[in-house]
Chain length 350, copies 2
C-alpha cells in the first residue's frame, strides 16, 4: 500500500534542514539529531534505542536464517508501495523462504545529499508499518550521506535474521521428481507496477506492486507439513529464473503448465503491449514451492485461506525428463523451453 502522507497521522518533525545534508552522515551531532528525530520514533525498541554500534540479542539454541538485500528501486515511490516497505518485505521474505520465522532486521541507508526530509520520513513510516505487519524489529542500522550525484536519491540495504523451526529443511536442491510446483498468486505485478510508473512511460494502468511479507503464509504452510522440499520468492528475473534455479540445483526437469499461472488482466495486457514475457518479471509478494504430491492438497488448502495465497495454484511438476531445464506447455499444447533471462529487462526493479 502506498503511504499517502496526506493521510498520515504523523507529520514530519521539525528538522534543522528540509533536505539531507552531508553533515547528517558525518557521525557528529547532526547525525545524532537525524537519528533521534526521524529514525528512532519509527523503529522504537529497546535494542535499537541503546544506540550501540551493534544490537545484542539473546537467542535459544537454534538454526538461524540470515539474508541481505540492497534495494535500489527507481522510482522510490511506486503504485502499491515504496523502497521502504519493499526493503522490509524483501528481506523478511528471503529469510522465511527457508521456513524461518523472521525476527530481526538491520537497515543501512545510503542517502544523496539534498534528499527531502519529507521523503525520508515517508519511507521510514512505510518501513515502520511493514515491520509491524511482518512482525520484525529493526534493531540496528547505519546512515551514510554521499555528495549530490554520487547516488540516485536513496538506497537501503536490509539484513534479516530468523529462527528456523526444528525439522524444517527447505532448500532449492531438495526437489524430487513427482513434486508439485505451487505458485501463491498472480505474477509480474511488482515489475510491471514499477515499469509503468517510470516517467518515460506515459502508459497509465491500475497495476499495483504486490510487495508483502510472506512469513504469515509460510507459517500456515509449515503447520500443514514440514515436507516442503523447496521454496523461493521469484523476485528479480521472475518466475522463469526461480524455476530454472530449482531445476538445475535439484537436477530435475520442471514441466510448467503455463495456462495455470495466475496473472491479472491488466498485467497481461501491459506485458503484451511492451513485448515482455511476464515469466521474467519481478514479484515481491509471491512464493513458489515444491511439495510432494500427497501433501499438495493440504498445502493448497492452507494457502488459499490466507489473504496472500487466495489464488494459489499448481503450475507444474518436477519430472525426470529434461533435467536442469524448464519446459512450458502452452494453452495450445505446444512445448517450449523456458530459459532464464540472460540480461536485464528492467534495471532497478527492486
Amino acid at each position: 500500500m502506498i503511504v499517502d502522507t496526506s493521510t498520515l497521522s504523523c507529520p514530519l518533525p521539525i528538522m534543522d534542514h528540509d533536505t539531507v545534508q552531508l553533515a547528517h552522515g558525518s557521525g557528529g551531532s547532526l547525525s545524532a539529531s537525524l537519528i533521534e528525530k526521524l529514525f528512532l520514533p519509527r523503529f522504537d525498541n529497546a535494542m535499537l534505542n541503546q544506540l550501540e554500534d551493534q544490537a545484542v540479542m539473546e537467542l535459544p539454541a537454534c538454526r538461524l536464517a540470515f539474508s541481505t538485500d540492497s534495494f535500489v528501486v527507481d522510482p522510490i515511490f511506486f503504485p502499491g508501495g515504496d523502497i521502504g516497505d519493499l526493503a522490509i518485505n524483501g528481506t523478511a521474505n528471503d529469510v522465511c523462504m527457508s521456513g524461518a520465522v523472521p525476527l530481526y532486521v538491520s537497515a543501512a541507508f545510503i542517502i544523496e545529499e539534498g534528499f527531502a526530509m519529507e521523503s525520508l520520513h515517508r519511507i521510514l513510516l512505510s518501513m515502520e508499518q511493514a515491520g509491524k505487519q511482518a512482525g520484525v524489529t529493526v534493531v540496528t542500522g547505519d546512515t551514510k550521506v554521499v555528495n549530490k550525484g554520487s547516488c540516485d536519491k536513496i538506497f537501503i540495504t536490509t539484513t534479516g535474521l530468523g529462527s528456523v523451526p526444528d525439522g524444517v529443511m527447505i532448500s532449492a536442491g531438495g526437489i524430487q521428481p513427482g513434486d508439485k510446483i505451487i505458485l501463491s498468486g498472480t505474477i509480474a505485478d511488482h515489475g510491471m507496477a514499477v515499469m509503468t510508473s517510470r516517467e518515460n512511460l506515459s502508459f497509465q494502468t491500475r497495476i499495483q506492486s504486490d510487495t508483502a511479507a510472506l512469513n504469515g503464509l509460510v507459517e500456515k504452510m509449515i503447520k500443514t507439513t514440514t515436507e516442503i522440499h523447496a521454496m523461493r520468492d521469484p523476485t528479480r528475473g521472475g518466475l522463469a529464473t526461480t524455476l530454472n534455479e530449482f531445476a538445475s540445483t535439484s537436477n530435475v526437469g520442471i514441466k510448467l503448465i503455463e495456462g495455470n499461472i495466475p496473472i491479472s488482466p491488466d498485467v497481461k495486457g501491459a506485458c503484451e503491449i511492451l513485448g515482455i514475457d511476464p515469466l521474467n518479471v519481478a514479484n515481491e509478494g509471491k512464493l513458489v514451492a515444491a511439495v510432494p504430491p500427497d501433501k499438495v492438497d493440504a498445502v493448497l488448502d492452507a494457502m488459499r485461506k490466507h489473504p496472500l495465497g487466495r489464488q494459489a495454484a499448481i503450475i507444474g511438476e518436477a519430472v525426470t525428463d529434461h533435467k536442469g531445464m524448464v519446459a512450458g506447455e502452452t494453452l495450445l499444447g505446444v512445448s517450449r523451453i523456458v530459459d532464464m533471462p540472460v540480461g536485464e529487462q528492467l534495471p532497478r526493479i527492486c
Copy 2:
C-alpha cells in the same frame, strides 16, 4: 595493506565482459555467471556455495551481536587498504566492540554499470584476505547493478553476526567515575590517508589507513578481565565523537589528557597543514575502552602484547564533574571543551 594486483597470485578469471553490465544485476544468467566466476571463489564456504537466498547457521544458545554498515569511501583504493577490507574490518569491529566474537558476515554490493571487472576482482580479493585475517565467513550476499551515474563506482554494505561470551556486558552506558579511558593506538590515520589521496589534494604523504579487524585484540582484553565497562571504535566523527557518546550515554564527565593521545608525526603534520582537528578524524583499526582503575594495568599489558595495541595508552578518565561533556587538558595545562563535530569535514571517509 594495499592489494597490489601485480603481486596477486590470482589473476582476473576470463569474464564475458571487461566491465560490469546492468545485466550482471538482473538475477538472470549473467548474474549467475558473475557470482560463480568472481564471488564464489573468494568466499568459498559450504553455506554460501548453496546459493540459497539466505544462509542457515546452527548456533548454540547464546547472545548474538548484530551490526551493519554501508561503505561508500572515496576513493575506493587508498593508501593502506580499499573499500573491500574496510567493509569486512569495519563490520567485524562493530560486532566485536560488544565483546562478541565475529563469526558470519553478509555482503551486499551496489555497483555502477561500467565498473571494471578488474577493480571488482581486486576488491573481492581484499575482502577474502580481510575475512581470513578476521576469522569471519561471508555466508550470504546480494549484487545490484545500477545505471551509469546512479551510484559512484561501488558501495558495499556488510552485516555481521557474532557470539557474545558469557559474562561479558559491554555498552557505551556502563562507564563509572574513576574508570580509565584507554586508546589502542594512534589516531586519525584512516581519515587522513583517504583525504590526502583524493585527487584534489596534490599533497603527498606516507600516511596509511589503519584499517584492521580488532577482534583478536578484544579477545586478549576480555581474557584479562570481563570488567570492560565500555568499548567502541572511533570511526566517523573520530575520537571526539566516541568520547562524547560515552560521556552522554554514561552520564559522566570525561577528562582527556590530550598529550597522551598517540598520533604519528605525518598525520599530525597533515592535520596542521589542513587545519583539521585529529580528534574529529576517522579511525578504522582503533578502539577506546573504559576500564576500572584496578584492571587498567593488566588490560594495557595485554593490549601492548598484541600488534594492534602496541601503542595503547591511558588518555583520560571518567569523572563526576562536567557530566555529559568531554574536557581536554592541553600540554600547556589549559582546559577546553572537546565537542562532537557538528558537520562533515570529510564526507565519504568510510
